[in-house]
Amino acid sequence: MPTLERVSTKETRIGAGLGILKGMLVTFKHLFRAPFTVPYPEKRLPLPRRFRGYEFVWSRERCTVCLTCAKACPHGVIRIQSRLAPPESQWQAEKFEIDIGLCIFCGLCVESCPYDAIFMGTQFELANYQRGGLVRGIEKIQYNPATSRASDYSEHPPLEPGRLLLPKQ
C-alpha cells in the first residue's frame, strides 16, 4: 500500500500580504548572497575531466583504419579514406574527416574505438564563419603534443604517458 501525502492542506487564507512578506524575506536574503554566476569570457569555470569537446584528437600511430568509429557514429559524421602504405603494406588513413557541423558529441565513436586512437576534445566554442571550417581533417585532429588537449572521456590510455589530460576537479 503506497503511502500518501496530501499537498494542498492549507485552505484558509492567512492575513493579507503575509505570504508576500514571507516571499520578500527570501528575496531580501539574496542581497547578502554571493553571486552564483561567472562573467564568462573573462572567467571560465573548470571543465570536468570527461568533457566532450568538439576538437577531436586522433592518433595516426594507433589508428588501423578499421572504420569502427565511422560505423558507430549515429549521423555518419566521420569520413575515412584509407590506402595501403607501400613499405610495410599497412593500412593508413589518407583522409580522416569529422564534420563538427553535424556531430552531436555523443562520444560513441570514442567509446567504440578498439585501438584507443580517438579522443574527445576539451573546447566548446565552435563558432565559425564558414561551414567548411567546421570540417576537421587530419591536419586539425592529429595528435600534436604542443596543442592537442584531449579529454579523459574515453578513459583510453593517454597518448603521452604521465601527462594528465585535464586537471582533476
Binding site: P2, T3, L4, E5, R6, V7, S8, T9, K10, R13, I14, A16, G17, L18, G19, I20, K22, G23, L25, V26, T27, H30, F36, P48, R49, R50, F51, R52, T68, K71, A72, C73, P74, I104, F105, C106, G107, L108, E111, S112, M120, S151, Y153, E155, K168, Q169
Partner: protein, 368 residues
Amino acid sequence: MELRTQPFMVNIGPQHPSTHGVFRLRVIFDGETIVDLEPVFGYLHRGLEKLGEGRTYTQCLTLTDRQDYLSAMNNNLAYVLAVEKLGGIPVPPQATQVRVLVSELQRIASHLFAIGAFINDLGAFFSPFMYMLREREKITDLFEMLCGQRLTHNFLRIGGLSHDLPPEFMPALRALIDSMPRFIDEYDQLLSDNEIIWARSKGVGVLPRDLAINASASGPVLRGSGVAWDLRQADPYLNYPQFQFDIPIGANGDAYDRFRVRLEEMRQSVRIIKQAMESLPGGPVMTPDVNLALRLPKGEAYAHVESPRGELGYYLVSDGSINPYRFKVRAPSFINLTTLRELCLGWKLADAIVILGSIDIVLGEVDR
C-alpha cells in the same frame, strides 16, 4: 441597446514565449473567455521514431536524449530498459543503483525547471525562475562530471552505464543533497503561501479525477487530481522497492496542486537519493560483451518509467536485425496535453497560459 458579440479566433504561438517551445494554440474567444481551444503541434517534429528504425540499438540512444531534453536521463533509462527486457541483458547492481541516482537527480532538475517556468507564466518575471536554475545548474554540473555533457547526456548504455562514478562525484553529490532540502524549503516559503500565486492558480484548470484517469494522464498531472499512481510503486523498476518514499497527491486537481505535487516530489527524490547514496554496491557498471551492433531476438517489449512528466514508455519491435523494426515512444506530456481543452474551457486567456504551464509540456517530446 443590445451589445452584439461574436466569437473570434486567435493564434497563440507558434513563436510565443509562454507556449514553452514552438507550439500553437488556436483559441476561440468570446470577449476574453475561451469558448474553444485546439492545440496545434508538430513544429518540432523530427521524425525520431522513423529515424530510430534506421539505426542500431546503440545509436538510438542518442535519439532518446533529444525527446524530452529536460529529462534526458529518464529517456535513456526507459529505452535502455526496453532493450534489456527484449534481449534479456543483465545489468550489474552498481549500474542499477547509479541509474536510480541519476534519474532522481534528473527529476529534481526537471521539476525545478517546470516550477520556475510555471511561476514565470504566472507573471513573476524570471526572479524565481533564476533561483530554480541556480539549483538546476548544480545538478547539470554533476551530470557533466559523470558523462561530459549537460543536457544530452547519453550516459546509460545497454547493459549498464558508459562510465562508473568519478571519484569527485560523491562528495559533490553529498554537498548538493545536504543543501537541497534547505533550498526546497526556501522555494516553498517563497512561493506556496504567496497570495498572488493562490489567486492565479487555486481553482484554476481543475482536472477532475475521472477525466484525468480517462484521458490516461500521468505524472504530476494525474497525482495533482488525487490519484496516487506512480510507476515507481505501481510497477516498480530498477530497485525502487528498496527505498522509502511517499507519493504526494493533490486534493483539488487545480494548477496549484500540480505545482505543489512537483515541489513535494523534489523532497521525495532527495529522500530516495539519500538512501541510494548510502547503499551503493560497487563493482562493475557494464555487462561485458554487449555488441555495438546488437542483434536482439525477434519479439517486442515495452518498458516504462516514471519520468518527471509521467509515464514514459518505449515500445520496441525487433525482427532480428541490428535495427529496431518499430521504435515507438509513449510520450507523457503529449498525452497530458490532450486534457488541455477541457481544462481551459470557460477560463480567460491569462488562465490558459497558467494551465498550459502547469501541465509542463516539453515540445521535443510532444512532437518527437
